[in-house]
Symmetry: C2
Subunit: 312 residues, 2 copies
């Protein structure tokens, strides 16, 4: 990918975690996980202006941080503090379509009050990963004038901090959630109606991630459907949604504009990167990608959906 | 739609039924239903060379038959015999995503031995609607040299007549089923792997219908994903899959060729017609459509999925 001078800067705030994941392939322990781990790594393929704000404990392997640094990511705001790193333990069903959380040990993540370093308060794109909406809003207030703020959240916050989440939502441009979260937030099963209801809370666009059914974008310019690549080998869905977000935001930073046309392409890049993520465990699917591999899958998605416009 | 001389003829064999449907809108009784009712009506928008082979009882309103005839469909092979018409009673969940069968009264459908009239044995396209695979094969043997034979089936036949179904499958070009049926038939959850397994049984293409996640085509030329239109008002999913099939086969008859390019367009026409079907009860959603309405939704689907091919 050529490095354009027009690249925008991207600030990612989220979790950096260790995961124990059980499933059809057996238990895998201490995998690198966390939303920011996937997002930043994916975005680094598109721009070298990525910085991460996160917290880790003293059990977190420094090699993971070093690897991100080597990819050109600014890791100076990943704070190491005494205590255990956020640790998620989950189990997937045999068909990988559902998962249950067996244990969540917040560790140092539980009392984290993120502080955005002075140098990063001018970031043009901001991705507020899935954390307490009160903290998301606090982080947002530290930013000067971002051109685009995207927010992720989850059922936990929708259920226990709805008013706080809605207050944060009113301040962001884009909400990125999955279909069940959209239904829960809107209290409406129909996704089209749910989107209309959610957009009334402030954001100008809503992206609904639907796993192997692709992703939908709803915004003023209408709707856009990004397909998911039909894959024969799916190993681990963990991080697929975050990789989608990383591809989308990374491409927007790379492209340097936020036109509807560019946002459509960015949705496809999200689908591309999500499809790589699920093919291997942890971040292995998004490790060592090349421009050629990314371009190939982009072209494959274009071919997957191409049809001729006809007049009957 | 202009009537091309190159139109191919389409023979549809399937059920013509009466449905009692319970759901969020309350119980609706004696609705016109059955696969052939949807398929033939939808296909009639694309070609006037549609004929139906079906059976009805003496309780079936003649107006429904007359209406099909007025649309240009050859209904001469819809046989009325003494007894009750096939009657399905079902109940949808409040969110319309699942349904249970409360009662199935086969009536005259139970002992039906379809006979294709001499004049229709030269039909170029054949759609074998969801009936006993032994009967499907018997019908197929009555045809002379169809250019394309498509088959629909259901979990019942996959479960109780698997060997017979596989024998029929070996003789057809295209299998059109939904995702759960594909998984059941292949004994494999992953749809890509399921498709590979199913295509080994003989058909050259497999179409997997996924409801509001669209439809997937797997064939020698690779995969194609047709989106579903995100709709705010969904009233009744009954007949959506059959309307998809009718749009697909109707468009193929209209276009007059079976090239991969035309098949992709036909998949989109399937999605267009399926989207109309769910907006109202019974066949009301596919009644009184115009070329302009069909073209508009086709264009909307094109717009829904359009993105620019870029080089990174």
């Amino acid at each position: 990918m050529h490095q354009r001078s027009a690249h925008r800067s991207l600030l990612v705030i989220g979790s950096v975690a260790l995961d124990d994941i059980d499933g059809p392939a057996g238990m895998q322990r201490d995998l690198l996980g966390g939303s920011a781990s996937f997002i930043a790594r994916v975005a680094s393929y598109f721009t070298k202006k990525v910085s991460v704000v996160a917290v880790i404990g003293d059990d977190f392997p420094q090699t993971h941080v070093d690897e991100l640094t080597q990819l050109g990511v600014d890791t100076s705001a990943i704070s190491r503090v005494p205590g255990e790193t956020f640790h998620w333990v989950g189990k997937y069903s045999d068909d990988l379509t559902s998962r249950e959380t067996l244990d969540t040990r917040l560790g140092v993540f539980g009392e984290w009050q993120p502080k955005v370093p002075e140098a990063q308060r001018d970031a043009q794109l901001v991705l507020l990963g899935n954390i307490d909406p009160v903290i998301q809003l606090d982080v947002l207030k530290q930013m000067r004038a971002p051109a685009l703020v995207a927010l992720d959240t989850m059922n936990l916050w929708i259920n226990i901090k709805r008013p706080e989440l809605l207050a944060t939502l009113a301040k962001v441009h884009t909400l990125m959630i999955n279909d069940e979260e959209a239904r829960l937030l809107a209290q409406e099963h129909n996704l089209h109606k749910a989107a209309t209801a959610i957009l009334k809370h402030g954001p100008s666009s809503l992206i609904i991630k639907r796993g192997d059914a692709g992703a939908l974008l709803f915004h003023e310019g209408g709707a856009f459907a990004a397909p998911a690549m039909p894959l024969a080998d799916v190993k681990d869905p963990t991080g697929a949604g975050d990789s989608f977000a990383g591809g989308l935001m990374g491409y927007l930073a790379y492209a340097g504009d936020l036109s509807p046309k560019t946002i459509r392409t960015a949705m496809i890049m999200g689908s591309v990167m999500g499809s790589f993520a699920v093919e291997k465990f942890s971040v292995d699917g998004i490790r060592d990608l090349t421009n050629a591999k990314i371009q190939k899958r982009f072209d494959d998605l274009a071919e997957l959906t191409h049809f001729e416009r006809i007049t009957i």
